[in-house]
Amino acid sequence: MGKTKLALLAALSTGLAASLGAASASAEDTIKVGILHSLSGTMAISETTLKDVMLMLIDEQNKKGGLLGKKLEAVVVDPASNWPLFAEKAKQLLEVDKVAATFGCWTSVSRKSVLPVFEHDNGILFYPVQYEGEESSRNVFYTGAAPNQQAIPAVDYLMNEEGVKRWVLEGTDYVYPRTTNKILEAYLKLKGVPPEDIMVNYTPFGFSDWQTEVGNIKKFGSAGKKTAVVSTVNGDANVPFYKELGNQGVKATDIPVVAFSVGEEELAGLDTKPLVGHLAAWNYFMSVDAPENKAFIDEWHKFTKNDKRTTNDPMEAHYIGFNMWVKAVEKAGTTDPDAVIDAMIGVSVPNLTGGYSAMMPNHHITKPVLIGEIQADGQLDTVWQTSGLVAGDEWSDYLDGSKDLISDWRKPMSCGNFNVKTGKCGGETVATQ
C-alpha cells in the first residue's frame, strides 16, 4: 500500500515537473491567446462553439506560420456561466498566463464584470456578441453589433417593407433587452408611433410558459393595424416561445416576429416549419452566398469533423476580430497592448459576407446589416440588406443621457465618452444612467 502510494506520488511529481518545464519552455517562443468562454453552465450552449472557432482560427494561423515568427498558443479557461468567476479567470489570463489578447464573454453582465480587470491590467478583450451599446473602453474591441447595426435597421425594415404600425417589444428581463427596448421606444416615438401602439413586456430568464404572453400578442395584434413583435428574448427561452407561437397559430404573414438573439444555433433545436417567415436581424447568416463564407464553413466542418455544425453571427465576429488583431500585431511589430491598441484603429479585414470590415476609432466595427427569414430547413435566408456598411454607434442618438457623447480612442482625444456639448471627456468608460 505504502509503496504504491509513493510510486503514484513520484509519477505525479514527475508529470507536474514535465508539464511545468514544457510551459516555461513554450512561454518563450509562443504568443498566448486567451479564450474566455463558458464551457459549462447555462451559457455553454452558446459559448462552447465560440471556443471551438477560436481554436480553429489559431490552428489555421499556426499553419500559416504563426505570428511574428512565433507560434500562437491558446489558453482556454472555463468561467462556467458564473459572472464573478469571469473576472477571476480574466485576472488569471492577464496576470498568470500573460496572454497577448483575450477573446471572450457573451452576456453583457459578464463583459461588465471583466471590464475593470482588463482596464486595470491593460489587457485587450475582443467581445463578439451584439449588445446594447452605451459603453466604450480603451481595452475592449466590440466586434458584435451595436443597436444601430441590428435593432434600428430591423425596425426600419418592418416599418417600410411590411407596413407595421403596432409594436410589441418582448424581452428577457436584463440589461441588453431593457436598454435596447429603451432605445427602440425612443426611436419609434420619434417616428410618430403613438404610445398606445407600443407594448413592452419582460419575462424572466429561461421562461418556459409563454401561453399568456403569446395570447396577449394575438390580442394586441387584432386591433386592425399591422402588428409585429421585436424580440430580445434570450437563450433557452426562445424554443418554448417559438413553439407556443407555432401552436397558437401566430403566422409570420399576420404577426411577424423579428429576433435579435435567435441564430442558426438556436433554431437547431426546433422544428422550424411552423415558423417560416419569422425574421432575424444579424450581420451574418450561414446561408450568405460568398466565397469567403463557403471556405469558412468548409474549414469549420473539417475542424469539427461534423458537417452538420452550423455557423452563426458571433462566430463571424470572432473571425473578423482575430484577423484584425493579427493584422494589428503585424503592423505594430509587437504584441505590447498599447502599441496594438493604437495599431488596431483603421485596420480593415474581409468579413464573411463578401465585403470588408474596418475598426473605427470608437473600437466598434463597420458591418452590413442583414434581415433574414426563417426557412423550413432551419436556415435564415436574406430578404433585405443595407446597401452599404454601417459603422457601430456606441452612444445611442436616441437616448437623453448619451446622444451628446462620442468616443474616439485616437490621440490626442483618447476618450470613451467625450461630450460634444460641454467639450469635456467624462473620464469614465461607462455611462452612469
Partner: protein, 535 residues
C-alpha cells in the same frame, strides 16, 4: 360537366386559332409568369396578382408550389414545379420535364409580403373549389383581407354553397367585404354588423372597431351596440382562458414535482438531482425518436408513446443506481445528501453535455400534439391539452400504486416506521431502492412531456427543481393529493397574476405569498398527521 368541358375546349381551340393567326403576340399568361424570374419581390407580387386575375387553370398549382417553396425558375425564365421525389414538371402545362436538368434552376424567392399575396390570390381562386376545406380557407382569407372587388364572387359562391358551415363563413366574409366597401348601402352595412357580431371574437371586435370609427352615424351606432356585447363576453372568456393557462402550467408543475413527492415527500431525501432525472427522460425521448425515425419513419408519430416506458426505465435505473451507490450511505444526514446530490446533478449535466453536445436537441411534436383548437372563446393548444390529461393519468396511476399494491403498502410501512417494518420481514433496503427508483422513473416520464414544450438541453432539469420543491412543500410533504392541489393552485395563481403584474413580478408575488403561507402553516396545505411525523 362534360358540356362545360366541351365549351371550354371550343373556347381554347378558338383562342389557339386566334393566337396562331397573330404569331407575334405571346400567350399573356406566359408573359405574366416571367415575372417570377425576377429577384424583386414587387415583380413577383405583381405576377401573383396577374396570374390570379387571369384565372388560368394552372394558377392554383403554381401558387401552391410557390407557397411550399417548390416552384423553380430556370435560367431561361421557364417555370418548373419540383416534386417530392425530385422530379420536375413544367409549371404551365404540367408535363414531365425529360432529359437534362434545365440550367440555372433555382427556387423562386418568397417573403412575407409575397406569402400574403399568395394567400389573397388563393382566396379568390378557391372560392368555388370542390373541396369544402379549401372553400373554408378561401372564406377565411377573404374575411381577413376583405377586397370590395370580390363582392360578386362571394355572392355567387353563397348562392351555390350547400355546406352550412362554409356558407356561414362565406356570409361572414361577405359582411367583412361590405364593411370594407366605401359605397355599400347603409342598410347592407348594418346587416353586416349583425352578422359579424355573432362571431363574438377578437377579429369581429377589430372589424367592428373600424366600422364604429369610420361608418355613417347609423352604422357606427349599430357597431357600438354590438361591441358592448362582444367586449363583455370577451372579458369572461379571457378569465376562463387564464384559468386554463393556469391549469396547464399547474399540470407541468405537477409532472415535474410528482416524482419528487415520492423521493422527497415520502422518503424524505432532499434530491437535488431530481431535475436531472427529468432531463434524462427528455434525452431518452430524443434517442427513441431518432431511432424510430431511422427504423420505421411511418411510426414517428407514435415515438412519444414508446418513449414513455423507455424514459421510466432509464431514469428509474439511474435512480436505483444513485440510491445504492450514494444516498443509502447518507440517510439521516440531510445536509450531506443535499450536497452530494447537488454535485451529482452537475456531473450528470456535464455528462450529457459531453455526450450529446451543449446545443439544444430537436424533439419533434407529433402531429396530434401540434396546433390548436377553438372551444368557444378558448384557444386550446393540443400539446398543452394532452399534457394536462397525461399528468392526471400519471397522478392516478401513482396513487393506485401507493394505495393498492404490495409495493405501495411496503413503501408506506417503511417510511412510517422503519424498524417496525423491518421486524415484519420487509427488506427495508430493497424497498428504499425501489421507492427511489419509482420516484426517479416518474420524473423521467415527466421529461417525455416536457420535451414537447421546453428545450431538450442539459439545463432542462435545473429550471424545474426549485418549482418542484415549492410545490411539494406547499402541498404538504408526504402527501400526493397535496402535490396535486399545490401544483394546480400555484399554476392558476401564477397565470391569474401574470396579465396584471407581468411575468417577472407575478412570480415574485407568488413566492412571497408562499413564504407567508409556510410561515403560518409550516407543514403545507395537507399536513400528514401522526406520531411518526412528530418525532
Amino acid at each position: 360537366m362534360s358540356m362545360r368541358r366541351f365549351l371550354l375546349t371550343c373556347a381554347l381551340v378558338l383562342f389557339a386559332a386566334l393566337v396562331a393567326a397573330n404569331p407575334a403576340a405571346a400567350d399573356p399568361v406566359d408573359d405574366i409568369l416571367t415575372g417570377f424570374a425576377s429577384s424583386k419581390y414587387d415583380e413577383i407580387e405583381k405576377a401573383i396578382e396577374g396570374l390570379a386575375a387571369s384565372g388560368d387553370a394552372s394558377a392554383p398549382a403554381i401558387l401552391d408550389a410557390l407557397n411550399a417553396g417548390t416552384l423553380q425558375v430556370a435560367g431561361d425564365k421557364k417555370l418548373y414545379i419540383k416534386g417530392d421525389d425530385g422530379s420536375l414538371k413544367a409549371a404551365r402545362s404540367g408535363a414531365n420535364a425529360t432529359g437534362e436538368m434545365p440550367p440555372g434552376l433555382k427556387p423562386v424567392k418568397v417573403n412575407n409580403r409575397v406569402r400574403r399575396a399568395i394567400e389573397a390570390a388563393m382566396g379568390q381562386l378557391t372560392l368555388l373549389s370542390p373541396d369544402p376545406a379549401k372553400r373554408l380557407n378561401a372564406a377565411a382569407s377573404l374575411f381577413h383581407a376583405p377586397d370590395p372587388a370580390q363582392l360578386p364572387a362571394v355572392e355567387s359562391a353563397i348562392a351555390k354553397e350547400s355546406d352550412p358551415a362554409v356558407k356561414r363563413a362565406f356570409e361572414e366574409a361577405r359582411a367583412a367585404v361590405l364593411l370594407a366597401a366605401p359605397d355599400a348601402p347603409e342598410a347592407d352595412k348594418i346587416a353586416a354588423v349583425a352578422v359579424i357580431a355573432l362571431r363574438g371574437d377578437e377579429d369581429a371586435k377589430s372589424l367592428l372597431d373600424a366600422a364604429a370609427a369610420s361608418g355613417t352615424p347609423a352604422v357606427a351606432e349599430a357597431a357600438n351596440a354590438a361591441l358592448k356585447g362582444i367586449e363583455r363576453s370577451l372579458a369572461m372568456w379571457s378569465v376562463a382562458q387564464n384559468v386554463y393557462y393556469g391549469l396547464s402550467l399547474g399540470s407541468v408543475l405537477l409532472l415535474a414535482a410528482i416524482g419528487l413527492a415520492i423521493t422527497f415527500g415520502v422518503m424524505g431525501v432532499i434530491n437535488m438531482a431530481h431535475g436531472e432525472m427529468v432531463m434524462l427522460g427528455a434525452y431518452t425521448t430524443y434517442v427513441v425518436q431518432q431511432a424510430v425515425m431511422a427504423a420505421a419513419p411511418g411510426l414517428t408519430d407514435l415515438a412519444l408513446l414508446i418513449a414513455v416506458p423507455a424514459a421510466f426505465l432509464v431514469s428509474g435505473a439511474a435512480g436505483i443506481a444513485i440510491e445504492r451507490s450514494i444516498i443509502r450511505f447518507l440517510y439521516g444526514r440531510p445536509l450531506e445528501t443535499l450536497l452530494a446530490t447537488f454535485g451529482l446533478s452537475l456531473v450528470l449535466q456535464q455528462a450529457m453535455r459531453s455526450i450529446f453536445g451543449p446545443t439544444n436537441l430537436q424533439v419533434d411534436n407529433p402531429s396530434w400534439m401540434s396546433g390548436s383548437m377553438q372551444l368557444g372563446g378558448l384557444a386550446i393548444t393540443y400539446n398543452r391539452f394532452w399534457i394536462i390529461l397525461f399528468s392526471i393519468a400519471i397522478f392516478a396511476l401513482l396513487t393506485l400504486v401507493l394505495r393498492k399494491t404490495a409495493l405501495g403498502l411496503q413503501m408506506r410501512a417503511v417510511t412510517q416506521n422503519r424498524r417496525m417494518a423491518a421486524s415484519m420481514g420487509i427488506r427495508t433496503g430493497w424497498v428504499d431502492s425501489l421507492t427511489f427508483g419509482l420516484g426517479s422513473g416518474v420524473a423521467g416520464i415527466a421529461g417525455v412531456a416536457l420535451s414537447q414544450i421546453d428545450n431538450v438541453s442539459p439545463n432542462l432539469g435545473q429550471s424545474y427543481i426549485i418549482d418542484s420543491f415549492m410545490v411539494v412543500v406547499f402541498g404538504g410533504v408526504g402527501n400526493l393529493w397535496g402535490t396535486l392541489v399545490g401544483a394546480l393552485s400555484l399554476g392558476v395563481a401564477n397565470k391569474l397574476l401574470e396579465p396584471v403584474a407581468g411575468a417577472v413580478l407575478g412570480k415574485i408575488v407568488v413566492l412571497v405569498l408562499l413564504v407567508l403561507f409556510i410561515q403560518r402553516r409550516p407543514r403545507g396545505l395537507f399536513p400528514v398527521k401522526g406520531r411518526a411525523v412528530e418525532s
